[in-house]
Structures are given as C-alpha cells and as structure tokens.
Symmetry: C2
Subunit: 230 residues, 2 copies
DNA sequence: CATTGTGAAGCGTTTCACAGCC
DNA sequence: GGCTGTGAAACGCTTCACAATG
C-alpha cells in the first residue's frame, strides 16, 4: 500500500559513509561553499572519488555533469535517506560514568537524538540529576519508550548488566540498540545492534603495531613488559 | 634478518573479530571451560561456525579434529597474534570530559594499555589531577612518547583541535591513533588510524529505523518533529 | 564419528574506465 | 572540457561442503 518511493536498497558500506559525507557537506555549507565535486568531497572524506560517486548514485542522480553537486540539496537528500529529517529520541540505560557523560553531552540532542530518558537499576541513583537529566528507575523504561516514542536505546551499563539492559529495551519496544558494553548482546534478529568497543579498537591497533615490529627493522616502540594468561 | 615466522597476512575482517573471540575465550577460561568447539564459540560470538574456523585457521592449525580448541592455548595464540603479550602504553590528548573519563577508567591499563600520559593545550588544566593522572602540557608530548615508548595516541579533543592533536602525535613519533573526534584526520599513510564516532553510529541506526517505517506498516516509532537544513 | 581445516563457490564492495551530459 | 553516473572487472570476505583426522 505504501508508495513505492524509497525502495532502493543502499549497501551497508555506503550507509556507513553517508554520515561522514553529511558532516563534511555541513561544514562546507557553513563556509559558504555551495557546489562541490566528487573529487573534493573524496579528498575531505579520505576516500576516493569513484567511491563517492557510487555512494551518491544510490540516492539518485543529484549531481550535475561537468559541475558537481549542489551542497544544500545533497545535504537534504542524505538527511532524508538517513531519516534525519526528524528527531530520534534515545533512552540511555546505565547512569554510571559513561551514561552521565552521554547525557551531559549536549551536541547529542542538537544533532537530532535528544535524550528522552536516563535510567538505572540502582535505586540510590534514581532521582539524582545528571547533566540536566533526572535519573529514573529502569522499571519506567516501557513507559518512557511508549510515551516519548523512543526507538533507539543505548546500553551504557557494566558488562554484567548489559544483556539484561538489552532485554528490557527490547521488551519495552526499542528496535535499535547502540551497545557500549564489551559483550555480544543476544537479541531478536529484527533488532538492529551497533557496538562501540574501545578495547577492540585498541587491540586492532595493537595488531598493526605488533606487525610493524615483526615485519621490518625495529622502530621506536614498546618493549615486552608482562605476559598475562587470561 | 628477522626470522620468517609470523608472515601470514590476516584479513582485516578477521583481525577485527579476534578481540571478540579473545574476550569470550577469557570468560570461558574463567568459568573453567578448557575446550571449546567452533560451534560454541560462534554461538557466543554471534557469528557462524565456518567464519570462526576460517578466522582461527589464519593463526595456524591450533584445533583438534573431533574435539575442538584448547581454550588456554587459543587465548595465548590470539594474544600473540594481536601483540598483546606485552603492554602498549597510550597517550591521551585532551583532558576534557572524554579524556578524563578515559584516564579514570582503570580497566584500560589492566587490559594492557596503561595511560602513559594525559596532555592538554589548556595551561589552566595542566598540573591538575584527573583520575589519578596528572595533566601535562601538550609540549611535553615528544618527551612522553620517547621516554615511555608510546606508539598509540588517543585524540580526545574537540573537533576543532583534533587535526592539530594528530599532527603533534605523529611528530612526536606515535604510529597509531584512535580518534574520538568527529572529523577525518589527515595523516601520513604509514599511520594507522581508527575512529570511534557516536554520531555516525546513531545515524546508521536512524537509517535502519527510517527504513523500517518506510518499508511496511507503521510500528511504534518516532514522528516528524523538526526539519533542519544543516 | 564429531569436529577441524580448507578449496571453491557465492556475494558484496571497490575500483576502473568511459559513455553520457551540462 | 570537465565532471557525473554506471556497467564491468577486480578484489576481498563469507559461506558451503566435504575431505582429513584425532
């Protein structure tokens, strides 16, 4: 029944780059630039021009041959494709260091993801103010999700409580989760999960550093210090 | 001159999963499990068994057919491959909210990435104590990197200062950077950069939520609230 | 005989190269 | 002439399917 517009499927790899293009286009827009080539956008985005053109072609043919892309129009089209033409209120589970930092970070709501709620299991935290947001009981999750129409949940709990937090978010009706806990969440397949994992990132860098040393002449680098078994 | 061991090239996709396997193996080890099949590891890691086996095969043939993998031995092999048999001291640039949170987070050093230094451009912050770490001037960067043999730098500055931070890190001798600022860093090709970008993650989730709505019958989800042009 | 290790097929992403168009 | 849009080739990653084997 729905009109058939917007039925293109955009590759995941492209979706993950659109936010980067969008940010760059915003900056260029603020600088007064109103037209940009794939070459320039590629340079600013740290990718190559063919990729930029392919990526943008999935949105439609919004460029002008011989000229480039109109910045403001392209911004609008990317926003539309990413669903950024309206706000997506988020709920944060876990009012520890991270949850507090996230709540306090204003540029969050400003960018279309207002904090609709911050909840915690710990009764002693409930009621306290954190970055202008009052901590509420985790039992209020369903009510917050329903009344504020939240579809994105953020897991900012310790590892041990992360699965429980995810279960509660899903039960409350959330359909996307951003997980900061270093653990694999088990959720129904219809739920979209993304992970931010500091330790994984550092270990990937460690791999490359290690490789650098093993590969050629020694550079200025760390020396063995401790061998831990777990 | 170097012995030719360790010359396999491991696919990036595999490298990014090894830390996940490692964490799971550690947990299983602590639970007293000493042998694990690719099926079980896949289940815990949220991937499929063929992928686990392929991934592990890049390390060598460390499994036993008909049995599985010895947990402790596999832990050791992954650690070795990722370069986690010794510490990698890191230096953090930017003593704002994020830099403070990172410095304070103990599980950081405990996991093989001790904070060798926390620096900031802001003279008024220099000398203050943050999470047990004293903030030092950014001018001391070269000295910290040299004396503590730091090869990994963390950019935790505001967006506007991120490129400068990266330039200083590279000049000081750092060869890997973990960037928390929402901007594309320009660095020499030999430098390994990884990015943690909250806004990008949320926008990817937004895309999927938007798609959910556009694709079928309306579910419980956010309604249009504001259309911003930049 | 359960489970690994791995060629080979399948699939998604990137890059090339150039036709199409302003 | 310059830049976009895009088939087609190249590449890398995932999955299959089964031979190898403790």
């Amino acid at each position: 029944m729905a009109p058939d517009r917007n039925r293109r499927r955009i590759p995941d790899a492209t979706v993950s780059r659109l936010p980067v293009y969008l940010r760059i286009l915003g900056e260029q827009h603020d600088l007064g630039v109103d037209s940009i080539s794939s070459d320039r956008l590629a340079e600013l985005g740290g990718v190559n021009a063919a990729k930029v053109r392919k990526d943008l072609s999935y949105l439609g043919s919004y460029g002008t041959r011989g000229v480039g892309y109109e910045v403001a129009y392209l911004i609008f089209q990317i926003q539309r494709e990413l669903g950024l033409t309206h706000d997506w209120p988020v709920v944060i589970v876990g009012a520890g260091n991270l949850g507090q930092a996230l709540s306090g970070y204003g540029g969050f709501g400003a960018r279309g993801f207002p904090v609709a709620g911050l909840v915690d299991v710990d009764a002693s935290k409930v009621g306290t103010l954190v970055g202008g947001v009052r901590v509420r009981s985790i039992d209020e999750l369903p009510q917050i999700v329903q009344s504020k129409r939240v579809s994105i949940g953020i897991v900012a709990t310790p590892t041990a409580s992360a699965q429980d937090a995810a279960d509660r978010l899903v039960a409350a009706g959330v359909t996307s989760i951003l997980n900061f806990a270093p653990t694999v969440l088990s959720v129904p397949p219809s739920i979209e999960v993304r992970k931010v994992d500091l330790a994984v990132e550092l270990q990937i860098l460690s791999y490359h550093e290690q490789r650098r040393i093993a590969g050629g002449a020694a550079t200025t680098a760390a020396r063995p210090r401790a061998v831990s078994a777990s």
